[in-house]
């Protein structure tokens, strides 16, 4: 697969490939958070922590057990899902901002633990991870993630999650065991974060607990909210814009992050529900097509 990357390098600037790979990784992680926060309505300020579980899990399994890359990746994802269940059960007693705060706390604790563990290399970080991630792997996984989430959202499970988001008490009255569904959503969302983490580890070849602090968690949350809560195209758009913005803004050198901060505020003020919040793309496309068909039909008739 890396042969394809070498092939691509002949035509595409390696800098773009690097940016695109990171974008793909953030897309997978953000889509996981989309399920938790966008679809189920559960606030999580600790999504980066699940990424770190996947990253360290996959890297350590690869370094110590020497298993094939995809198995390591999957194992990292499952470990993250397990962490999601572990965090989810006690936290789900909490609602709204309190849940967010608790996940923030878990995330920070996990970071400090990784900072002090011997096996993760502590503050010195974990180096020597082989480079396995390629552009192709990442984007195949992005497409799989989008497909899986799209199917999930339109299943019985997904509809239950939306019901919980809209009104938890009403959902419970309709016989939805909300705790079970919420923890389920948390685990699946964390699984995708873990996969993203595993890809990240095998792309950068070095991990440091500092990479997965609360700042990264908030970044992921911004991707999801700015794109439009509950919308997969929205999450993709939000992630793309906010990941590419710091790169595009490089021309402004020192003022880059100031402009990034301003951009966030301005985008929020002009689209308070997110870029694609409340926009149903499928319906929009149909309507545009429909009106055009009608438009062409009228003169003929």
């Amino acid at each position: 697969m890396s042969m394809l990357d070498d092939f691509l390098r002949q035509f595409i600037n390696p800098y773009y490939i690097q940016v695109l790979m990171l974008l793909g990784i953030y897309l997978i992680a953000a889509l996981g958070l989309h399920l938790i926060t966008g679809v189920t309505g559960q606030l999580s300020f600790g999504h980066a922590a699940f990424m770190s579980v996947g990253a360290y899990g996959a890297a350590l399994i690869n370094l110590h057990l020497d298993l094939p890359f995809l198995i390591c990746l999957l194992a990292g994802g499952l470990l993250a899902a397990l962490a999601g269940v572990f965090v989810g059960f006690p936290s789900m007693r909490l609602a709204g901002d309190y849940l967010g705060i608790a996940t923030l706390g878990f995330g920070e604790i996990l970071r400090v633990v990784f900072m002090n563990l011997e096996i993760t290399g502590g503050a010195r970080g974990l180096a020597g991870i082989p480079r396995e991630t390629s552009l192709l792997t990442i984007y195949v996984l992005v497409i799989l993630t989008i497909f899986a989430l799209h199917r999930l959202q339109n299943s019985r499970f997904g509809r239950a999650l939306v019901a919980i988001r809209e009104d938890e008490i009403a959902a419970e009255c309709m016989g939805i065991k909300s705790l079970w569904y919420k923890v389920g959503a948390f685990a699946i969302g964390s699984f995708f974060a873990g996969i993203a983490g595993g890809l990240y580890a095998h792309l950068l070849q070095y991990l440091n607990p500092g990479d997965f602090g609360f700042a990264r968690s908030f970044e992921l949350l911004c991707f999801v909210v700015l794109g439009g809560l509950g919308s997969i195209p929205g999450t993709v758009l939000g992630t793309t814009i906010l990941t590419l913005a710091p790169e595009v803004l490089r021309f402004s050198s020192e003022y880059r992050m100031m402009m990034y901060g301003l951009l966030m505020v301005i985008m929020m003020i002009f689209r308070p529900r997110g870029l694609l919040g409340g926009v149903d793309l499928m319906r929009l496309v149909k309507r545009v097509l429909g009106s055009r068909r009608r438009g062409t039909a009228t003169p003929a008739g």
């Binding site: 600037n13 390696p14 503050a123 480079r131 070849q205 002009f270 694609l276």
Partner: protein, 390 residues
């Protein structure tokens, strides 16, 4: 009406994406035309938590480039620095490295931290670009490959000789060891000190953990204050070192601190004031403006004129990094990394401003002698010159 608004937003969104794509296209134009100038990349943080290390490195580099160009350039070409900011984030460190390479740099100076150097090192090695870190001291850096170098004072050479000096010349027997646990440099250096202290039969009576970014050290100092010890070995950076000593004095203790070149910045006494008087720092850089000689003295004076501040260790090593690369290019007669990496490897007894450098058979830098500097009246004075025996 409402639908119109939605559509407008969508169009705006799409326009933005379009701008992004075209914007990217604009950035990659300068790949060609690398013939008139020699490009050296700066990899480091200008914003974020590591900015305090990246910014002086860049200042040192800029001075070196001015010196080279004033003397007629290199191989008849002008040298330019290609710089970008990774805001202290690993992932952006990788992106910036890749971007510098695309812009046609022949060598990269950076990153000041070991972590990002390891990420960048893998990329530079596979792209065949020389990377010389002006700050990475941790393990596993030059092992990445034959394009990867560093010009730092290696603690594994310096810590044992300094420990010996503390015991034999200053008569220290018992010490307090302070480590910053979220700083890879500090964790590594403390490990080295634990070994060398044990070798010399010295005792660590108390170990305290702090973290980079902490401001309050009262708990650690109170915990130390009940113990009997001769001095404090502090392995972190200057900010925390200065604040830690402030607290030590505030609680009425009169011990002095000894540390590695992570403490080597004027900020040490700017923040610490009287509290760091008598503190000692070991380094390869003769930072004492009175005691310094030749090249180093000249560098300190000119840096002060140019930037209005004393150079710190990062500035001196940033300057040397560019000069080392330039000398290697001149010696090879070529700016092809594959060729000048070989001449760089042969660098021996090279007089830099941050010390005398030889690259050993493992391509690790050997800086000898080690200077033990002492803070006196808000400035450095050379307390001892200790040769490193190999």
């Amino acid at each position: 009406m409402y639908r119109k608004k939605k559509l407008t937003a969508l169009v705006v969104g799409l326009l933005f994406v379009f701008a992004v794509i075209t914007g990217c296209g604009g950035g990659g134009q300068d790949t060609a035309g690398g013939d008139e100038v020699i490009k050296i990349g700066f990899l480091g943080a200008k914003t974020g938590t590591h900015a305090a290390y990246g910014v002086p490195t860049l200042k040192g580099m800029q001075m070196a480039v001015e010196d080279i160009n004033a003397a007629g350039g290199l191989l008849g070409k002008q040298v330019v620095i290609i710089e970008d900011d990774h805001r202290s984030q690993s992932s952006e460190g990788a992106t910036v490295t890749q971007k510098l390479i695309t812009k046609g740099v022949v060598a990269i100076v950076g990153d000041p931290t070991t972590g990002i150097t390891k990420i960048a090192g893998e990329i530079a090695q596979s792209a065949g670009v020389v990377l010389l870190s002006a700050g990475a001291v941790g393990e596993g850096v030059v092992e990445i490959g034959d394009y990867i170098y560093r010009n730092t004072l290696l603690d594994k050479l310096a810590a044992p000789v300094v420990t010996k000096y503390l015991k034999e010349e200053l008569g220290w027997e018992k010490v307090a060891l302070v480590t910053s646990t979220n700083n890879d440099y500090s964790v590594g250096l403390s490990k080295l000190f634990r070994n060398s202290l044990a070798e010399h039969g010295m005792e660590i009576v108390t170990e305290q953990s702090i973290q980079d970014g902490d401001q309050s050290f009262s708990a650690q100092v109170t915990a130390m204050s009940g113990k009997q010890f001769d001095g404090i070995i502090f392995t972190g950076y200057y900010t925390e070192g200065a604040l830690f000593m402030k607290e030590v004095r505030a609680q009425g203790l009169d011990h002095v601190m000894v540390g590695g070149d992570g403490l080597l910045a004027p900020a040490l006494w700017e923040l610490g004031g009287d509290a760091v008087e008598g503190s000692m720092v070991y380094t390869g850089f003769e930072a004492d403006p009175e005691g310094a000689t030749g090249k180093t003295l000249d560098f300190i004076k000119r840096y002060q004129e140019k930037y209005g501040e004393l150079p710190d260790m990062f500035a001196a090593q940033g300057y040397d990094a560019v000069m080392l690369i330039a000398d290697a290019i001149a010696a090879a007669g070529s700016d092809d990394p594959a060729e000048f990496k070989e001449t760089l490897k042969q660098t021996a007894d090279w007089q830099g401003v941050s010390g005398t450098i030889t690259f050993g058979p493992d391509r690790e830098p050997i800086k000898s002698p080690v200077y033990l500097l002492e803070v006196k009246d808000g400035g450095w004075t050379i307390k001892a010159v200790i040769p490193v025996d190999l």
